[in-house]
Amino acid sequence: MADLGDTIIEFNEDKGLLKISGISMMEDALEFYVETKSKIDGFLSSSATNLTIEFELTYFNSSSAKQFIQILTKLEGDKGNAIWKYPKDHSIMHDRGKELEILVDVPFEFIAI
């Protein structure tokens, strides 16, 4: 069944870019992001390149927020940066990104689209 929005994860290891886009509202986010987290670990341990994680979401729930913190924490210690793209005029999605920024020691860039 087609959902009104899916979570799309694209990992381009050559460019060192992980993109999480769409809508992230699964009930069991822990299970959903297990694979992504192990790919990040694999990338960071085998590559000299920094990792950029780009978020382009229209919505995320609280269990996704927790997973995002876990994902972003992996970049702490100058291992990468985050780009937070949010729908123009959607101040809540901007603010929810700002709250993640406060909780991790990773450089954030905010882009309205």
């Binding site: 509202m25 009930e27 609280s62 927790k66 959607h90 809540i92």
Partner: protein, 337 residues
């Protein structure tokens, strides 16, 4: 007003192991009835269209109500009277005759849609017309079907249409927009959220904040049921409803609790309700940070979010029910102009 887009989600919601054998017929009939509302239902902003599906032991019924004009009333009342007298073979013959003579139109002038519904449900179509102003009528009808193919239900297996009309009137009186009682396990929860999303999604800038809060509160409360609800044979029974109130909407949920969750739940909600408005943002960050790196606990910020975005208290009540505990929760979501 109904939009066509969520018929598939409604269908997904009613998929149930007990009714596997009727799944196809049920889906077909639900879409047929639902689309009749979309096609023929009132176009007014506050039209009282209604669509509902109920499952009771080995019978299911689809109930629908919409406003029709005098001409449609004349057609439907004579057609339904005629069809309800026919048996399965006679209906089949009539269906073929109309198809061959080609006398049907897009609006189903020959009643082909009705004949098909009568055939697939295998039971007479219960119906009733209530006179309204301007010579219009409220048209209520109901399809009954047995979980066994082709079996006609006995009188006591069926819900009388009057019963559904009563529920419908109660729902209208309370400005209830959406009501779901059933299984809150994983797949169903996703369908519920899709329905909620379809109905809180607009693209106007002013409504973005309102829509976000309604949707987000619904997501967190529904997922709380999926997480904390008591599961019996992999079935988590719960209730979710959303109704309009003065200057906002009210969301409420109900579910049985897993054992031992009573004091945790009560303390958790009381604590969240005690925080001041200013504290809530801080508490959100602290809690998320504290729980983020521990996989054994949940994020724990769902209810904090519900409270801080809406600036409302979480209403709740915990009662004894069926040798266990039952949690009712509600939250007012103000709609800002």
């Amino acid at each position: 007003m109904f939009s066509d887009s969520f018929s598939e989600h409604i269908v997904a919601l009613t998929e149930h192991d007990n009714h596997k054998s009727v799944k196809k017929r049920l889906s077909f009939l639900m879409i047929e009835v639902f689309q009749n509302i979309v096609r023929h239902g009132g176009q007014e902003e506050k039209s009282n269209d209604f669509f509902g599906v109920r499952s009771i032991e080995d019978s299911l019924n689809i109930f629908s109500s919409n406003r029709i004009n005098k001409k449609a009333h004349e057609f439907l009342s004579s057609k339904l009277k005629e069809l309800n007298k026919l048996n399965a073979d006679q209906l089949k013959t009539l269906y073929k005759e109309i198809l061959q003579s080609g006398q049907f139109s897009d609006k189903g002038g020959a009643g082909l849609g009705l004949i098909d519904m009568a055939r697939k449900s295998g039971n007479p179509i219960q119906h009733n017309f209530e006179p309204l102003e301007n010579n219009d009528f409220q048209f209520n009808y109901q399809l009954d079907l047995s979980s066994e193919r082709g079996v006609e239900l006995t009188k006591h297996q069926k819900i009388n249409i009057e019963d559904n009309i009563q529920s419908y009137n109660d729902i209208n009186d309370n400005d209830l927009v959406f009501f779901f009682k059933g299984d809150f396990s994983k797949n169903n929860t996703q369908s519920l959220l899709n329905i909620l999303k379809a109905n809180t999604q607009t693209y106007s800038k002013n409504e973005e904040f309102n829509n976000f809060r309604i949707f987000h509160s619904g997501v967190e409360l529904i997922q709380n049921i999926a997480r904390h609800g008591k599961s019996v044979n992999e079935y988590i029974e719960g209730v979710f409803c959303l109704f309009r109130v003065n200057s906002g909407v009210y969301i409420c949920t109900g579910n049985s609790l897993k054992t031992g969750d009573y004091s945790t739940m009560e303390m958790h909600i009381n604590k969240i309700n005690e925080y001041s408005k200013d504290d809530l943002n801080k508490v959100y960050l602290e809690t998320l940070k504290k729980n983020a790196l521990n996989d054994d606990v949940k994020a724990g910020v769902g209810l904090i979010d519900v409270r801080r975005y809406n600036q409302s208290f979480i209403d709740y009540e915990i009662n004894n029910k069926d040798n266990g505990l039952y949690l009712k929760m509600g939250v007012f979501i103000p709609i800002y102009k």
